[in-house]
């Protein structure tokens, strides 16, 4: 009892072993700091690890298409083109009116894979494709990595034919993939993580343009290539 009088006049008399003024309750502070720290660390874990894991769903593509195989001219012939860009365009083509056809429809695949009974290779993927899709004349519901919101007007032909850009510059290297990457989609917005960027912090210190496809990435590239006028709002938001 006497120890807890904590009178101000007697600064040296404390229950704390004399290291700090006795009106400071060290054990309380330790408790405060520890619980604060617990909360803090918990929040950091939730924010940096749990949140991204819940926010994003991971879906495999309906068919695990092998780009590398199809672009290997020793295995598959029929993909026309000399440059990598021309090779891409032999399936991901431009229509006559200049619009970009995007992911090819079934009729492109059936140019070669036309008979559900006779697969061209030995993979179970191709078999599933022939049975479930070609056999039923059903389009494959591909999940699109680069789908922008519909407030965005993007012209492929302006970038590919006029800007002479490589496909991989924005889309990364698909040509070498033997498997299609996992499609990771933000459950709340419905957009692929390729748009927002794989780094949950949203910070990129040394990024390539293939890491992210948000508006400031487009703007940054426009500026670098001396096309600042294309950063006016109405160019993309018609």
């Amino acid at each position: 009892m006497k120890n807890q009088s904590n009178s101000a006049e007697n600064g040296t008399q404390s229950s704390n072993g004399g290291l700090v003024p006795k009106w400071i309750n060290l054990s309380l502070i330790v408790q405060d700091v520890s619980f604060f720290g617990l909360g803090l660390i918990g929040a950091l874990i939730v924010g940096w690890a749990v949140f991204p894991a819940i926010l994003y769903s991971k879906q495999p593509q309906p068919i695990n298409f092998n780009h590398a195989l199809h672009l290997d001219s020793e295995v598959v012939d029929g993909i026309e083109g000399d440059t990598p860009e021309e090779k891409c365009q032999s399936c991901h083509s431009f229509r006559e009116d200049g619009s970009f056809a995007g992911i090819p429809k079934l009729e492109k695949c059936t140019e070669c894979h036309d008979d559900p009974e006779s697969p061209l290779g030995e993979t179970p993927e191709e078999k599933a494709f022939l049975v479930d899709y070609v056999g039923h004349e059903k389009e494959v519901p591909w999940l699109v990595y680069s789908k922008q919101p519909d407030c965005v007007y993007f012209s492929h032909i302006a970038h590919v034919k006029m800007g002479k850009m490589a496909c991989a510059a924005c889309h990364g290297n698909f040509a070498g993939n033997e498997k299609l990457p996992l499609y990771v989609e933000n459950r709340l917005t419905g957009y692929s993580i390729n748009i927002w960027g794989k780094n949950i912090s949203g910070l990129y210190l040394n990024k390539t343009y293939a890491d992210r496809m948000k508006m400031d990435d487009c703007a940054q590239c426009h500026t670098e290539k001396g096309q600042e006028q294309n950063n006016a709002c109405f160019v993309c938001h018609k």
Partner: protein
């Protein structure tokens, strides 16, 4: 350490501080904002390959060329084609909304169906096409075996002369029933009038584009008359922004200030039903002032001057009667139009270089009056406007090959000998081919319906026949009703069996001579999308049905499918030669060129022509005037007949049994002698106590509301004004003076009551409405289709009390005596 309240709060504070330096709150806010942009009801245009498919719109007999834009397989927009002769890039609102008729699931039948539940509830269950054919063919065969094929009746709303219509008529003949009925439209009035005055039922051809003075007797030029795409383009030409180029004056004659009247150069408002008197009043002035085309009248007409009959009696001519009975003062008394105005109209008409008097009633969906039309044609004749640029042209019909003849079998032949239920073609109505209002009447008046099975094609008579609900009642009495409609319309909801047609964008169909066009045009529409539902082209269905009924009927249809039948008829176009299958808007087909417009057909075989027609949708020949009036008319006199000898023959024949008075009475004619044989005005005998029903109800049509069998695309309801439809109540327009008599104000509710029924409306005060009349729009009051149409407003047809038009027998639907009761 214990978890005390303090410790807990400390950890929460730590959590909150920590969460700020994680992406969670920042990214979550951003993502939630994006989430709100993607809610499912926000419309998003689809992406995909863009294609444009050209075809011809078949929603009305106008036949405008349309271009349908598709994204992948989905049609997304309809626009008018610039490379089609009749509508240089233009299209009417109903045509633009056509995609809603294609894709509205609630409004369409998914496939063949049969009724379950009570009649009229619209409860159906899906069946297969095989079952549907079995049920219907079975029923028809049973009737034929019992020797009663005439108990089958068909209502066919397809335009006369189209292949679909011919096949349906042929089916009825092969089966053995004379009861093939078409709802009456203005085309019937034109055909009968032309038959009497010109000797042949030519297509009505008004050379609007070349006229410089258009005197429109009731034709709703901006309400959808004729081919709307064509008329609106002509209107644009007439009202060029550059006043120097504007050479045409338009005078609209109707009792209400419609859009057409409001935008015309002059609006003249005679009492409804008196247009004929006005026309003859103008003729009177022209004759008096000697401003008639003497060469035409004296050389190529019959009945203008007095005649001495074979018995030596003096028979007055058209001129004598007009001079005696249609002076401006007399016409003023009849019509309410100032004598001064009548004289001014006559002056303007005669001074114009290329005037034309056109006749119509609103949109043409309903018939006009025969004598009124004859009076207006007489005006054209007197001024020498027949076969002249800008006037009434007399082109021959399209040179389509007829379908090959066939012999009905014995059962059918016997059935065809029986009298028609509607009395068309009998002495009372000698020129009528169908009388739908009398058909319904006959069924209602019999104890047991003479019709066992009713087939309904492209028509919705429950809603559209102006007979005070007569057809509605008749439907209740008919034991078996089959609808071929793609839409869940009122008549289809009363049916027992549905064999749904394709929507117009899903089928191939022909469009034979758009109404009022002055050059031959055959339109061919083709499917622009794959059929969405399990439907079949009604032409194919008729062919299949005939084969299902039996070999005898099937042999009358020696074609695999409907396209073959179309080709059989189109062969005549190829054989006739001179037809063009592509159009360039810099060379309009109505621009008269003395030596032809230099275009030659671009095909050398029928197959080439047919393929070109399928992709272009047209076969046409530019406008051509006959070189002279000689040989142009096929009347008994070989001339234009002001006084119709054909009509005279018919009346004489009828009089032989009884007396002339009795014959005239039977045909509903209230004048005698020569006046009964020419265009004239006669006051209808209302047969109603006018003190009880002191007002008249006049239905009217609008371009942005469909009053016919085609449903109104829901988009168009957004174009209706609040003074026409408010929530679920439609308005009746009346002059403020009329409303004041009943102490009615704008928006008040009132009941419009005729001897046949009553409807509740809201009052719209409109100074453009003639006093003493109540104007109600046609197209509201549906009880079927989908949520956008059902239960909105009232249908004036339900209270129309129509007298019979003399001679033609069609309903006089524009003068129903009514009274107003304030609610």
């Amino acid at each position: 350490m214990k978890i005390t309240r303090r410790n807990f709060i400390a950890s929460v504070v730590g959590g909150v501080a920590g969460i700020q330096v994680t992406p969670l709150p920042w990214k979550l806010t951003d993502d939630v904002a994006i989430w709100t942009q993607n809610w499912p009801w926000v419309p998003v245009p689809s992406t995909g390959a863009v294609t444009e498919e050209n075809t011809v719109c078949n929603l009305c007999p106008g036949g405008c060329g349309i271009s349908v834009r598709k994204i992948d397989e989905r049609a997304v927009k309809i626009e008018g084609r610039t490379d089609y002769p009749i509508n240089p890039g233009g299209i009417c609102p109903v045509g633009m909304g056509g995609l809603q008729l294609l894709y509205d699931d609630d409004m369409r039948f998914p496939g063949p169906m049969k009724r379950v539940g009570a009649r009229g509830e619209g409860e159906f269950v899906n069946i297969t096409w095989g079952e549907a054919y079995d049920i219907l063919a079975g029923r028809i065969t049973t009737l034929r075996k019992a020797g009663k094929p005439e108990a089958i009746a068909a209502v066919d709303g397809n335009v006369a002369g189209t292949t679909t219509s011919l096949l349906i008529e042929r089916f009825m003949q092969a089966v053995g029933s004379p009861n093939y009925i078409k709802p009456a439209s203005i085309i019937d009035t034109y055909e009968t009038g032309n038959l009497l005055m010109l000797g042949k039922s030519n297509p009505m051809a008004y050379d609007l584009e070349n006229a410089d003075y258009v005197l429109s007797f009731g034709a709703g030029l901006l309400e959808g008359w004729g081919a709307p795409g064509r008329v609106m383009n002509a209107w644009g030409m007439w009202h060029d922004a550059n006043p120097a180029k504007r050479k045409t004056k338009v005078v609209q004659i109707e009792s209400r200030a419609s859009n057409t009247a409001s935008k015309a150069d002059f609006w003249v408002a005679p009492r409804p039903g008196t247009d004929g008197a006005l026309a003859l009043g103008i003729v009177h002035v022209l004759i008096k002032k000697g401003r008639i085309d003497g060469r035409f009248v004296n050389g190529f007409t019959y009945g203008f001057n007095d005649l001495t009959s074979t018995e030596g009696q003096n028979q007055p001519g058209f001129k004598t009667i007009v001079l005696k009975k249609y002076s401006p003062a007399q016409v003023e008394r009849i019509t309410g139009v100032d004598a001064k105005t009548i004289i001014a109209l006559a002056d303007a008409f005669s001074k114009a270089k290329a005037p034309v008097a056109i006749y119509g009633k609103g949109k043409n969906n309903l018939n006009g009056s025969l004598y009124e039309f004859m009076a207006v044609q007489s005006l054209n004749a007197v001024a020498g406007r027949i076969n002249r640029p800008g006037g009434v042209l007399l082109p021959s019909s399209l040179p389509l090959s007829p379908l090959p003849d066939f012999e009905p079998d014995e059962v059918a032949a016997n059935g065809l000998k029986k009298p028609r239920i509607d009395g068309a073609g009998t002495p009372a109505y000698p020129f009528a081919q169908s009388l739908i209002n009398h058909f319904a009447d006959a069924i209602n008046k019999s104890a047991k319906s003479p019709v066992d099975t009713l087939l309904v094609f492209s028509a919705n008579p429950f809603f559209t026949v102006p007979d005070g609900g007569g057809f509605k009642n008749a439907l209740e009495k008919i034991p078996f009703i089959v609808s071929f409609s793609p839409y869940r319309d009122e008549t289809a909801n009363m049916a027992d069996l549905i064999l749904p047609d394709h929507n117009y964008l899903e089928k191939m169909e022909d469009n034979v001579w758009p109404v009022g066009l002055q050059y031959p045009l055959y339109g061919l529409s083709r499917p622009v999308v794959e059929p969405i539902n399990n439907t079949q082209n009604v032409g194919d269905v008729v062919i299949s049905l005939s084969k299902a009924v039996g070999d005898e009927t099937g042999s009358a249809f020696p074609w695999e499918n409907f396209e073959e039948a179309l080709q059989v008829r189109a062969k005549g176009l190829f054989d006739a030669g001179g037809g063009l299958v592509r159009y360039d808007s810099s060379n309009p087909a109505w621009k008269f060129k003395a030596f032809g417009n230099g275009q030659k057909p671009s095909y050398s075989s029928f197959d080439e022509m047919w393929e070109a027609m399928k992709s272009g949708g047209m076969w046409y020949r530019p406008v051509k005037l006959a070189t002279s009036w000689q040989g142009l008319f096929e009347t008994p006199s070989g001339k234009f007949e002001f006084v119709s000898q054909k009509l005279q023959q018919v009346i004489s024949e009828n009089s032989r049994q009884t007396s002339e008075k009795a014959a005239l009475d039977q045909m509903g004619i209230r004048v005698a002698g020569v006046e009964a044989l020419m265009g004239h005005y006669e006051a209808p005998k209302l047969g109603v106590d006018r003190s009880k029903y002191p007002l008249f109800m006049v239905p009217y049509e609008m371009i942005n509301l469909s009053g016919g069998w085609i449903p109104t695309p829901p988009f168009l309801y957004k174009t209706i004004f609040a003074g026409q439809l408010l929530k679920n109540e439609s308005f009746a327009a009346m002059n403020p003076a009329t409303a004041a008599k009943y102490k009615l104000h704008q928006g008040d509710r009132a009941v419009v009551k005729s001897p046949l029924g009553q409807l509740q409306v809201r009052v719209d005060l409109f100074e453009g409405a003639m006093p003493g009349r109540v104007y109600m729009p046609l197209g509201f009051g549906h009880t079927a289709y989908d949520e956008y149409q059902k239960g909105k407003g009232v249908n004036p047809n339900n209270i129309v009390k129509a007298l019979n038009d003399p001679v033609s027998g069609y309903p006089l639907w524009w003068n129903t005596p009514v009274k107003l009761i304030k609610v």
